[in-house]
Amino acid sequence: MKSEDKRLIQAYYYGSITKGDAKKLNKLLEHDPKARSYYITYSAITEHLGESMEDNENEIFSSPKLSFSKKQSTAPWLLIAASLVLAFLVFDYLNNRDKDHPTVTISETDSILNNSRTQAHLVDHFNASIKGITRRLEDFIWVPGKYELLSGELHLRFNRCVDFIFQGPGIFEIEDFQNIRGTSGSIRTIVLNENGKGFTIKSPTTTYVDWGTEFALNISPSQQDKFNIDQGEVEVSPIGKPDNKTLLTRFNSSHQKLDFIELDASLKPSQPGDAGAKRNFKAFEKLANHADTIGLYNFDSPEQSILIEELVKRIPKNWQKWSTVHNLKSNRLIINHAKSEIGSHGVFHKCHRTAGRWPESLSVGLPHNGSHVSFSIPGNYPEITISFWLQKLDRLDAINSLIKSDYWNEIGNLCIEFSRGGKPYLHQWGEVSPSKFRFDNERLSSGWQLVTYTFGREENDSKSKIYIDGNLVFESKTKWTNYISLGDFTIGGCVNETGPSSANLNCKIDEMVISKNRWSEEDIREYFLDGFPFYQVEPITFAESSFSPTNPAR
């Protein structure tokens, strides 16, 4: 079997396969039995490697040579485990025989098998600390049991149909994928589809049955439950009085007076995306205070209290004269949040602020011909990183400029563009035919993506690299350029000396970071994962492969 064919299979399991390679892999697996055999072996290895090492956990450091006899000893353990389960079954069977249950039914076996099954998937979390759990939550199997969340918040998805967001400190117990008991803490529940109807939360005093809805609940051991319904219907009844049901909707809840719960319309626990937003905010704060960060922009509106006169002192020079003539409005300014204050504030032209990556956050949209944002960063930088979160709005035009130095006349000037198909291209002034290498066919797609450019010396060469979602997609060596000099520059459009051209990148941009050091691949990947809106089990194969226990990329 060719090594190239093996590489395709390895890349698939490593989560780094590109679309182009995926086609080749499919063709290979469809036609080559040897490739299929290697694939099956590789699959088994990724599945079993952890277990094999677990078996040898105690021996690996103490014994210089592992013996196979250790592995064989797992069989008796399996038999012992099986015997214990059997003993339980027999005991249960004998016990229940006298209670109108003449045979052990399928449901009893179901429950035994179910206990080994994950009841929920982790969607996201923020600083979640659970008593007694030391392993990473991403690797944790959410089996039935009691969980004490000491701090932070968890976003779980039950049976692919109910989102359950729990804010600590508090205690909840998973009975099964449809029944939760809560002792304390704040909860938001969202039924995502028909399968989730009937999802039940029991507090010490009340049962809440969710009939396709979104509701918020605050359980406190010393007070009545506080409850608010956002959508649909929820059936509430006091514990022990199932006949005393009340069906609440958003419209009738304000008229209801229930003696066992307090209806509180102001109750707003965390919602989907909040965990990611908090994590991202923390990363943003860290970057703002970092000495190497020279520009940091999240495109939120400037605070009204800031005087425009103060702001215009730090906007690009070519805009300062216009600020007085055209009475520049503060809402056209993009604030630099970097504490170093090296980068200017930005000024946007033919753009608008629009929904950002997080609940209630903003980004900047560049939908029109000539839409762009102007910035200025003085100085030459032997190392630099420029990172953007981008969301493509529609089809792209022939030329799509992400970033370009306004003047194109000296070493260090830089331009990054995307082709109509979303592939990145790099231009550097003075580099006539830079040696380029495109790693794969990764390109802009429709969701939010992290595009990162780095420049710096590696070994004996100065290298420019472009990453999409933490994957290296483009690399070039420069012959003359030893530093990057952005000067006045534009993002989202292409401004020439004669004025703005019609080239613009039809997208939204959020969280632009400019740092005067070169981020490593590991740094970029970490930043990507910190800034990813959701921890999604699917369909993000990159994140999935990164977190998967079969791929220990952490």
Binding site: R36, A44, L49, E51, I106, E538, P539, A553
Partner: protein
Amino acid sequence: MSKSNPATESLFIELYAKHEPSVRAFVKNGIFCQHDVADVMQKVAMVAWKKFANLDDPDLEFGKWMCVIARYEIMKFRRGKSRDILILSETAVEKILDQGCEEYSTRIKTLEFLQTCIDSLKEEEKTLIKIAYNSNTLIKVFAKTLNKSAHATYQKLQRIRNKLADCVEFKLSTEKV
């Protein structure tokens, strides 16, 4: 199963415990995500239990029979998924699963061979995969203790995994002959 008794359950659990790792590896052939593998395994177990009584010679047929159930459940699972997120085509997966089923009796030794291959690794390689697959230590933290970059450590880990795959594949091919 309409009726069951402790002896049948005992046999089922014993056979299930014996074949579960191999069948799980088989399921992994068609499904990438770990959680999805767990879900499909669950369904396979349930169906197997329900139909266990129909099996003529459980001792002989159980593993391969589970693979047939798993094949059906995998394809059912994949059809419920958006095509965009599936990297492998249906034809490719079907052929892989068919081959996996056919070779089940040989492939049941994969875990055994994997152990032998791990034994033949250098001590530092064993330590690395132990850290990667079975500890709470972050790779990047571990890399620092070795004075190596995290990237280099990941690469090394990848090479070890490839080495193990080659080793197991070689042993399996010898076994087939």
